[in-house]
């Protein structure tokens, strides 16, 4: 009987995944495959930034002012190793983009993780207990969604700037960004989980488990949660793209990442100022990268939603 727990007798997870409808659907959707490859490249290069980039854009000592505002390599005046040119401080644009993408992705992932945690937890409770708990949680969600997120972020980050010691300011700003985005996006997860939980908790398998005395917390986590994961998965993918965009917006407005730890949004904001002085590459390339990243994530999310939808019922 102990072999029951060893996976040798059953197909491995990978094998089952290869057999699944999802994998077949993925393979037959060229746009999904393309988006996945592009996204994979963007993420890979972002996390290998220290290895790939010719320059450490955070190291102010490495910047040489006579390299400032160099155009891309294929234009007259372009210089190696600055493939996409440099900004006004002589910072390599390509290096800035790679590091900036990494920050954008980390903030995106962190805010999705935080909002998933909060949204799933509160959604399960609202759906499972119903009644006033449900009412209170969902009305809080409604209120949060009706507050403009930019206002909240400006408010919170300016307060944080006041009270945080300078050493923690950058980490503090990143945390504030993550929390501001999460505060806004947990509501969506909570709604999805709540709706599914209200369906699941009436099903007989939940009653059967209640009859053997399973406590509510374990009922929610072991029984109900796995049956809500499919729609959450879709929502999380689409929200990852949204989180990166919100972060870029906030950074563009100056309440996000500071110029010495730039995200893609910060790069765009800084570069924006030089657009009309002719140095268009400072703003164009980070913008293109942001577009590629978000479009790839959204294409994957759209495909996932369509691929998983018939099974949701």
């Amino acid at each position: 009987m102990t072999e029951q727990t060893t996976p040798s007798k059953m197909p491995s997870r990978l094998e089952r995944f290869r057999d699944s409808d999802l994998w077949w659907s993925f393979k037959s959707h060229k746009s999904a495959v393309g988006a996945a490859i592009v996204l994979g490249l963007v993420i890979l290069t972002a996390f290998m930034a220290p290895l790939l980039s010719p320059q450490n854009p955070y190291d102010l000592a490495a910047l040489e002012l006579w390299n400032a505002e160099l155009p891309p390599i294929w234009m007259e005046g372009g210089q190696m190793p600055f493939l996409l040119g440099t900004d006004v401080q002589g910072r390599d644009i390509l290096s800035g983009i790679l590091y900036g993408t990494r920050i954008s992705i980390i903030i995106g992932i962190a805010s999705v993780a935080v909002s998933l945690f909060v949204g799933i937890g509160l959604g399960l409770m609202a759906g499972y207990y119903g009644g006033w708990i449900d009412n209170v949680l969902m009305r809080i969600g409604d209120v949060l969604l009706s507050i403009p997120i930019v206002l909240v972020a400006i408010l919170v980050s300016s307060v944080a700037q006041q009270f945080l010691p300078p050493a923690f300011r950058e980490a503090g700003v990143a945390a504030v960004l993550v929390l501001a985005i999460a505060m806004y996006s947990w509501v969506q997860y909570a709604r999805v989980v709540r709706a599914q939980t209200m369906v699941e908790r009436r099903k007989e398998y939940v009653m059967a488990s209640r009859l053997v005395g399973t406590p509510a917390r374990r009922l929610m986590i072991n029984h109900i949660l796995p049956n809500t994961l499919t729609p959450i998965f879709v929502a999380a993918t689409l929200n990852f793209g949204l989180a990166i965009l919100i972060e870029a917006t906030l950074s563009f407005l100056g309440v996000g990442m500071p110029p010495n730890q730039p995200s893609l949004g910060t790069l765009i904001r800084v570069g924006n100022q030089y657009l009309f002085s002719g140095s268009w590459w400072i703003v164009l390339f980070p913008s293109v990268q942001l577009c590629i990243l978000v479009v790839a994530v959204n294409m994957l999310g759209d495909w996932l939603r369509d691929a998983l939808n018939p099974k949701l019922r």
Partner: protein, 322 residues
């Protein structure tokens, strides 16, 4: 059948559901609160080792009775008490559900589904013993030991119902509440499951509360039958009594609609009328709009459930006056 100790007694139990619209809608639309009386003033006793069946049309409150007894719903009034089980402890109870598709968690392996009661109630000391017990249970219900690794969707309806039975047995119950365990199955599979349940009753000395909308299913299982109509018990009798000499017009109607094996075309014209809505029950005897022998008083006065002989009870004005 042997000792006449009650395993379960239900005394004047009523269950009302609040089906009102949300508070805000009610206030705006000036609608009153809305209640459904799904179960009204029900009493019965189940003797140890016997099978007590409840029959009635869909929507008459059978599942609600089952869920009240197992404690999934709280009673609005009345009380439910249990006899002593082995060694004086309260009798252990489990339930088998109607829908084999929603009664097993689709994300769990069958082995984990059956092991859940053992793990939750800590009935075995080690994981090894738990798995051993799971295998034993799978074999008891006619499945194989390696089925433990599969997921519910890999099984047919009948096999899933076997898994449900194995899960119910895992907690070593003495009383099994079966809410239409076969009504989602094909006729041929129904017979297999019913035979399995009979065999288990004999082998394990189980007491059954068996719920069905189909009298023919109940006949071979039960010792005693209660007929429910719109939340009330209208007749209660020993099986043979009910099948040979039904008293209540509704019991007669149910019996007449059982397909006749010798003469299957005779599926009877008797299914006169639709069951009324429990939201808006008829006055007096709830059966009077469909009753072929309804009298004037039937739409006015609710007939009480009366003891006829030591085993039979019926609630009907016509039977009283005869």
């Amino acid at each position: 059948m042997n000792d006449l100790a009650p395993a379960l007694s239900v005394n004047h139990v009523t269950k009302t559901f609040d089906v009102s619209a949300p508070w805000l809608n009610r206030v705006i639309e000036r609608r009153p609160k809305l209640f459904v009386e799904a179960v009204s003033d029900i009493s019965f006793t189940v003797q140890k080792g016997t099978c007590f069946s409840i029959v009635g049309e869909s929507g008459c409150g059978k599942s609600t009775v089952a869920r009240l007894i197992t404690g999934l719903y709280k009673t609005t009034s009345g009380d439910i008490s249990f006899g002593a089980g082995t060694a004086g402890a309260p009798i252990r109870m489990q339930m088998i559900f109607q829908d084999p598709h929603s009664s097993l968690n689709p994300r769990w392996r069958v082995g984990d589904i059956i092991a859940e009661p053992i793990r939750e109630m800590k009935l075995r000391d080690s994981e090894k013993e738990t798995l051993e017990r799971v295998r034993e249970l799978l074999e008891t219900v006619g499945l194989g030991a390696d089925d433990a690794l599969k997921y519910p969707h890999e099984f047919s309806g009948g096999q899933r119902q076997r898994i449900s039975i194995a899960r119910a047995l895992a907690s070593e119950p003495e009383l099994l509440v079966c809410d239409e365990p076969t009504s989602a199955l094909d006729v041929s599979v129904q017979a297999q499951i019913l035979n399995l349940m009979r065999r288990l009753q004999d082998e394990l000395g189980l007491t059954y509360l068996f719920i069905s909308h189909d009298l023919s299913v109940v006949r071979h299982m039960s010792d005693h039958i209660a007929v429910m109509y719109l939340g009330r018990i209208v007749e209660q009798a020993a099986v043979e009594e009910l099948f040979t000499a039904p008293k209540h017009p509704y019991s007669k109607l149910l019996l007449a609609t059982i397909p006749d094996i010798a003469n299957p075309k005779r599926r009877v014209e008797a299914q006169a009328g639709e069951p009324p809505s429990p939201l808006n029950p008829p006055s007096g005897c709830a059966f009077h709009p469909r009753c072929p022998i309804a009298m004037a008083e039937c739409s006015q006065i609710l007939p009480k459930l009366r003891q006829l002989d030591e085993n039979g009870q019926v609630a009907c004005h016509a039977v009283e006056s005869s």
